[in-house]
């Protein structure tokens, strides 16, 4: 057979690219609006962010913010939960909401001609949610079931233990964002209504609308809906978030004893820079990608492709609302947990001078050149823009980060690694590992504690 051409084809370099800039305005009630016109995107993505820190929750009712978002469309002063579901689903409107470190986010994904109705319904939910007793009680029960599912999943159980070990016990970040079993079970309709009255108002809120609809039309539709949303009497200034500081004894190893597990789930972390770091977030994106961002990155080249220990481990710098972390997470074969952990640490603590020009260039090329494809759809643009707004980052942040990535010199990346190379790890292992405690202690990475899976 003729084998076809064997010369590798040339690749024409891609042209310049920048993240779109929105048309922006502010409504009289304090709501900031950013509109991104994206041709061909017939489903509009709307994201509304309220800068409500989780530290605003009463400590014995943690999870109330997430429950509030779950109950937002479970009844208003005008409509029952079933009526609201009908109004939304007749129009194919996907309304979602959640709460996390950045605040409360509500989202609408809707075909263009239903945008007005969707915004009107969202406004009704925000301004007039009534939190009926049976619906709140049901959502509490559902959240308790969700918590049970999260913790039965080894990755979820590891994340929970990591949070508890890494963060200072006085800091909100040390406790589950969605609350614990005890605090969720204590949430009543009155607690949700009180929290709503305090924090759900348009002052400081940001709305992003992305999709194929002209700005004038969006301006009209927003103006007659969310633009008329008024802060209830008694709405307070929202408090500042906790700093997310680390526990003093965080550099240690915790083994969660999960008998009969065939794998060990690893969750490792150390302090890292935030997205506002002066060296440019792009620098840390490149380092992350080279170390643990793909099957060809250093971690999986060794642990997956050479050793066959894992289906895949991801590692890299992860930003938080302020500051950040270096995290490595994944599952490895149970009987190889300790050697796999040792190999992982040796990859993640690579000397700066060992980082090659080639791998850094490869990572930078990937990150810079995939940007047009990664930001091609309305939902992704809206999510990113809202994230920037809520972290008070400039709206050209993505463009500047891609520029930083494109122009990054290997020497700059090595210097950044030298200054921010992770160490003093917090390490959580979930698995059938109680007979490996001595080996783990012998690593010299801090004391080893064993906790039962059901704690």
């Amino acid at each position: 057979m003729t084998p076809g051409p064997v010369t590798v084809p040339d690749v024409a370099p891609p042209g310049p690219w920048s993240f779109p800039l929105p048309v922006s305005w502010q409504e009289d009630n304090g709501l900031t609006v950013h509109h991104y016109r994206i041709p061909g995107q017939h489903v509009l993505a709307c994201r509304l962010g309220l800068p409500v820190p989780l530290s605003a929750e009463p400590e014995d009712r943690e999870g109330v913010a997430l429950l509030l978002t779950r109950c937002l469309d479970e009844g208003t002063t005008r409509r029952s939960a079933e009526d609201l579901a009908e109004e939304l689903e007749r129009r194919g409107i996907a309304l979602g909401a959640g709460a996390g470190e950045r605040g409360i986010v509500a989202s609408l994904d809707v075909v263009g001609h239903h945008l007005g109705d969707a915004l009107a319904l969202l406004t009704e939910c925000l301004a007039e949610a009534s939190y009926p007793e049976p619906e709140v009680a049901r959502q509490v029960r559902t959240r308790l079931a969700d918590i049970a599912h999260e913790l039965a999943d080894p990755a979820g159980r590891a994340a929970r233990e990591f949070q508890r070990t890494y963060f200072h016990p006085a800091d909100r970040a040390s406790r589950p964002a969605g609350g614990s079993r005890e605090t969720v079970a204590a949430v009543t309709p009155a607690a949700v209504r009180d929290f709503h009255a305090q924090v759900v108002h348009p002052r400081g809120a940001v709305l992003v609308v992305a999709g194929d609809l002209p700005a004038e039309e969006v301006r009209d539709l927003v103006g007659t809906t969310l633009g008329r949303w008024q802060a209830p009497a008694g709405a307070a200034e929202r408090p500042q978030p906790d700093p997310g500081r680390r526990a003093e004894d965080a550099a240690r190893i915790v083994v969660v004893d999960r008998p009969d597990s065939v794998q060990a789930q690893l969750h490792l972390g150390a302090p890292g820079p935030g997205r506002d770091h002066p060296l440019g977030w792009g620098t840390f994106q490149v380092l992350s990608f080279a170390l643990g961002g793909s099957p060809t990155a250093r971690v999986d080249r060794v642990l997956r492709e050479e050793r066959g220990y894992t289906y895949g481990i991801r590692a890299g710098f992860r930003p938080r609302r302020r500051g950040g972390q270096f995290l490595a997470t994944g599952a490895v074969r149970g009987d190889a947990a300790v050697p796999a952990l040792e190999e992982l640490l040796s990859v993640l603590e690579v000397e700066p001078e060992e980082l090659t020009q080639e791998e850094l260039r490869h990572s930078a090329d990937f990150l810079a050149r995939t940007a047009p494809g990664r930001y091609a759809t309305a939902d992704v643009v809206a999510d990113e823009a809202l994230g920037l707004a809520m972290e008070e980052l400039p709206l050209d942040f993505v463009t500047r980060t891609v520029e930083r990535v494109r122009s990054l010199e290997a020497e700059d990346a090595r210097r950044a690694w030298a200054a921010h190379r992770p160490g003093d790890w917090t390490m959580v292992l979930v698995g059938d590992l109680t007979d490996r405690v001595d080996e783990l202690a012998a690593l010299g990475r801090g004391p080893v504690q064993v906790v039962p899976v059901g704690q």
Partner: protein, 430 residues
Amino acid sequence: MPLSYPIRSRTLDNGLRVVVSEDHLVPTVTVNIWVDVGSRHEQAGATGLAHLFEHLMFQGSENVAEGEHFSRIMSAGGQLNATTWFDRTAYFATVPTGALELVLWLEADRHRRLLPAVTQANLDNQRDVVKEEKRQRYDNQPYGTAVTDLIGLVFPEGHPYHHPTIGSMADLDAATLPQVHAFYRRHYHPGATVIGIVGDVDPEQAFTLVERHFGDWEPAARAVPPPAEPLPPLADRPREEHSERVPTERLYVGFRLPVAHTPEFTAASVALDALGGLTVSRLHRTLVRRRDLATGCSAAAMGLVGGSSLGFVGVDVAEGVNPDEVEEVLDEELARFADEGPTELELAASLADTERSWLEATGAQEERADLLSHFTLLHDDPHYLNQHLDDIAAVRPADVRRAAAHWLRPEQRATVAYRHGVGPGQEGAA
């Protein structure tokens, strides 16, 4: 809304099908290749091979070193991956416009000239990786084997859909290098392959490039297709119970459905949506909202080409509720639906939900390419991309009722039930 994405297709002399949708809004191109090999093509005692190839295809080929496929595409600014399913294996990459020919060259090398790189060492290593994939996704998760158990009940022993795509680890261990090579020769050839290309490309240029890299690929005889006799609905309510440490009790319910891409399948899929796929659906209203018997429920149809498809209903039983009661209510609702058909609201909501999700999917270049390859390989009907919403809108309540009465009656369900127990499962708390 009516869709009018441009679609051009061409079949090369060797039988390879190419389908192109031009779209210059973003300077990227997606290449999505569907190969007519999935777990349904596997023989008893040799399961898991289709999926194993999804791994081996990234380990190098005659002119491409191990890791080079990933690294070349990624350096050019591409994102890539592959997936295996019952009916097919898919390989896809989205790259900046200028890297289109690189992708086609790399794909040609591995689709045509893989075997020099399929060595014993590569086979052994990727077997280990697949075992970790199975442990991670199936064995170390609560309910991890539910879907495997469910298809085992819905499709009889020896049926092409009886086993999961991950396959049996014992079969993988037993696979020899010559057997693995023979599997590739049998299933990877031009007549079994569709190349979908969507994005910033002129269709004629796309056809020329595919011709350059795949035109002299020699055709092969098509493998004998696996049996595809339609199965009648289940009649004996097959059931499997797990008593283990699970976070909450759960029901996985399966049905046989008509083969994909038929009006009967479309009606059955609307029926499942109306029954349990939406918040206004009756199962959700009854089980979750009005009677507090469940914390969640879902329903969906999975279209398959091998004679029969799969229908699915899942219920998360509320704490303290007897799952037997949930099953009784489920049966009442199934029976009522089969008699009455959907309400006006259930049907309207299903249509509206499908419209939004279809516009989201087709509005994303990668997903549009995947749908084009799908409809071309499995149904020889690429234009269905533009037609699907019209088909859904044409479904009448009587069609849905008829489909439910034929396929979704209480006695026709298979059930995998998870009950609280002290078995080997996993429970966490904190």
